[in-house]
């Protein structure tokens, strides 16, 4: 059922078994998992079903360090959350992403890929994807034209991606949520404070507000923050009534280890002879699976680099595209989104008239994990939003390992292309000087916010445990990519939903 919190009497007390804060990919996935469970689930959403500028403004904030997208527009504040403008790219993490890697400081999750596999399968359905199968061979049987470059598989492999339509959770699951008897969706219910007990060992209630001047209290047995990695950290840090440093922050870890994916045009691939690149080319009309060139576990270890992959775009098209960080510059997410779509569309339309490069020249676009970095973080600004909550302040900071890994990845790719006599690779100028550790202004992210409430069994190293429970607090859980200990190479949405479904399962059975 749906309740507009603006219509409730002021100071209403809302009570239930489970309270999920945030109706985006993580929150809606969890709520759906509890549908018809017989338990009263309170699903809180700060916005409504449609975009509202006043609500979106609650996401405004500043950033320092490496240039970043406007915080106001890089997420969506309405029912369905950021699935309202996501691209639909899905791939699971690799086994190595969960392991402790001696060359990657602070790496290692307390869970393994196998712990997520059953939930990846469930997540696939929510995103309207094919079965949970990312083996090249499986897809080659369906699409015989998918041929990989003849490279050494011990070094470079083809990492498969599937594409969601993309599922807009706000549209696709609205009816199910609204018609559910046990899911109580409250719109215009913005979390403004988390109230813990005096020992800060449990959460007593949440305070929610809206622009109509209404304040309500929410009480439940268990609380799940599912507002995204920036907002979750912000709310924990801003809730200082009982804990001076903020909830769950006695070890000064909340907000730290903010991670993004390093996304940037990095090189050109020139083939000696035309080669069918159907496997690597994104087909907008069918959204059929494609692959990226990825680094094997062995070569990552040998070279001491991060996990990453490279996608191919015909060079004639890529040269017409503006870097994402320059495109997505408007504070209004709708305008930034329109510019992004126009950027892709125009580059393709302009290219239809050009045939000169054929299929011999490609841009290689990096998608790489960012190394965990304690100094890359979300903090609170002195400025407050319209509901009195301090605004977020992002300091995005990268390390030498990040730049080194990108450069090394293309050296490896170049050597492999040469070895196989497939072609040659030309690196972008920012990668030429091995002593230059800075990242160019054109570096973008994938609008992927991760790590701010990282997972570790050791409370000195992580905010949440392996079950996404905040250390030291019995009934507070975090859902989403904020719990990621490392960022992995793929986009996080599929994994964050799988992790949320695992949390959901834990809450049901514990």
């Amino acid at each position: 059922m749906h309740i507009d919190a603006r219509e409730l009497d002021n100071n209403t007390i809302i009570e239930g078994d489970l309270c999920i804060v945030g109706a985006g990919a993580a929150g809606i996935s969890m709520a759906l998992d509890w549908n018809k469970s017989g338990k009263k689930v309170i699903l809180l959403e700060g916005g409504g079903f449609e975009y509202n500028s006043e609500i979106q403004d609650l996401y405004s904030g500043n950033s320092t360090g490496q240039r970043y997208y406007p915080l106001r527009s890089c997420r969506l504040h309405l029912f369905g959350g950021t699935t309202g403008h996501w691209g639909g790219m899905c791939a699971p993490f690799d086994p190595i992403d969960f392991k402790i890697r001696s060359w990657v400081p602070d790496s290692g999750w307390p869970i393994a890929l196998d712990d997520l596999v059953p939930f990846y399968g469930k997540a696939q359905k929510l995103f309207e994807l094919d079965s949970y199968n990312y083996d090249l061979q499986y897809w080659q049987e369906k699409y015989p034209g998918l041929t990989p470059f003849p490279l050494d598989k011990d070094v470079i492999w083809s990492k498969m991606w599937q594409f969601s339509p993309p599922t807009r959770f706000g549209k696709t699951y609205k009816e199910t949520i609204v018609k559910s008897a046990n899911i109580h969706l409250y719109t215009y219910a913005n979390l403004t404070n988390i109230i813990a007990n005096d020992q800060v060992s449990g959460i007593k209630q949440l305070i929610v507000k809206n622009h109509n001047g209404k304040t309500h209290k929410v009480r439940a047995k268990n609380f799940v923050l599912a507002c995204g990695a920036i907002q979750n950290a912000r709310m924990l840090l801003a809730s200082r009534g009982q804990a001076k440093k903020g909830i769950g922050n006695d070890k000064d870890l909340v907000g730290r280890y903010f991670m993004e994916h390093l996304e940037i045009k990095s090189a050109e691939l020139w083939l000696k002879k035309p080669f069918s690149t159907e496997l690597y080319t994104f087909d907008y009309s069918t959204r059929k699976p494609r692959a990226e060139l990825a680094l094997s576990k062995g070569i990552q270890e040998e070279a001491g680099i991060l996990n990453g992959s490279a996608s191919l775009t015909p060079l004639a098209i890529a040269k017409k595209q503006t870097p994402l960080i320059d495109v997505w510059s408007n504070e209004d997410p709708r305008k930034s989104f329109d510019k992004l779509v126009a950027n892709f569309r125009e580059s393709r339309e302009k290219n239809y008239a050009r045939k000169d490069d054929g299929n011999r020249a490609f841009e290689l676009f990096t998608r790489m994990e960012q190394a965990p970095n304690r100094n890359s973080r979300i903090m609170l600004s002195r400025e407050k939003d319209a509901l009195g909550v301090p605004r977020p302040q992002l300091h995005w900071e990268l390390t030498e390992l990040d730049k080194y890994s990108i450069r090394k990845m293309y050296h490896i790719l170049g050597e492999q292309m040469g070895k196989a006599s497939v072609g040659r690779i030309k690196l972008e100028e920012f990668l030429w000087d091995k002593n230059d550790h800075s990242m160019p202004e054109q570096l973008g992210g994938g609008w992927h916010h991760m790590g701010t409430t990282r997972m570790s069994e050791d409370r000195k190293k992580g905010v949440v445990d392996a079950n996404c429970k905040v250390h030291g607090i019995s009934n507070l859980f975090i859902a989403g990519s904020g719990c990621f200990s490392t960022a992995g190479a793929p986009n996080p949405t599929l994994t964050l939903v799988a992790l949320s479904l695992r949390l959901s399962d834990y809450l049901k059975t514990s």
Binding site: W270, K272, H411, G414, E415, G418, K419, S421, R424, K426
Partner: protein, 125 residues
């Protein structure tokens, strides 16, 4: 006697001419092979190859044609009498062993980069 001497001198002159023609033809073919990176030529135009060669010389100080030739012939090992095939094999071997260099952003085999340098010098001459 005079006739006999004339014939001998003529035969010797002819022999010398043939040797010279053979030598210059061979030298010319060798120069061509040394200044022609086979795979890279399928990707880059001549102007780009020359530019790569110029940058390589600045990066390495390998800017003496005879020295470059020695390096390439010696590195190619002449395992095969065909220098062209030896150099092609050497290029692949370079990528296998990591004997590569970044020139103007191109990740190249050391051998093909030298071939570009040889081409640049040949053009300059």
């Amino acid at each position: 006697m005079k006739r006999r001497k004339f014939l001998l001198v003529s035969i010797f002159a002819l022999f010398l001419s043939l040797i010279s023609v053979w030598y210059f033809k061979f030298k010319s073919a060798t120069t061509k092979v040394l200044s022609y990176p086979i795979d890279l030529s399928e990707i880059c135009d001549r102007k780009t190859l020359i530019q790569i060669g110029n940058t390589y010389m600045k990066l390495t100080n390998e800017n003496d044609k005879r020295y470059l030739k020695e390096l390439m012939v010696q590195d190619a090992g002449m395992i095969d009498n065909d220098l062209k095939i030896s150099l092609k094999s050497k290029v692949v071997e370079d990528f296998n062993t990591g004997n590569t260099i970044l020139v103007d952003g191109w990740l190249l085999s050391r051998t093909e980069a030298r071939q570009c340098a040889f081409l640049s010098m040949s053009e300059a001459n």
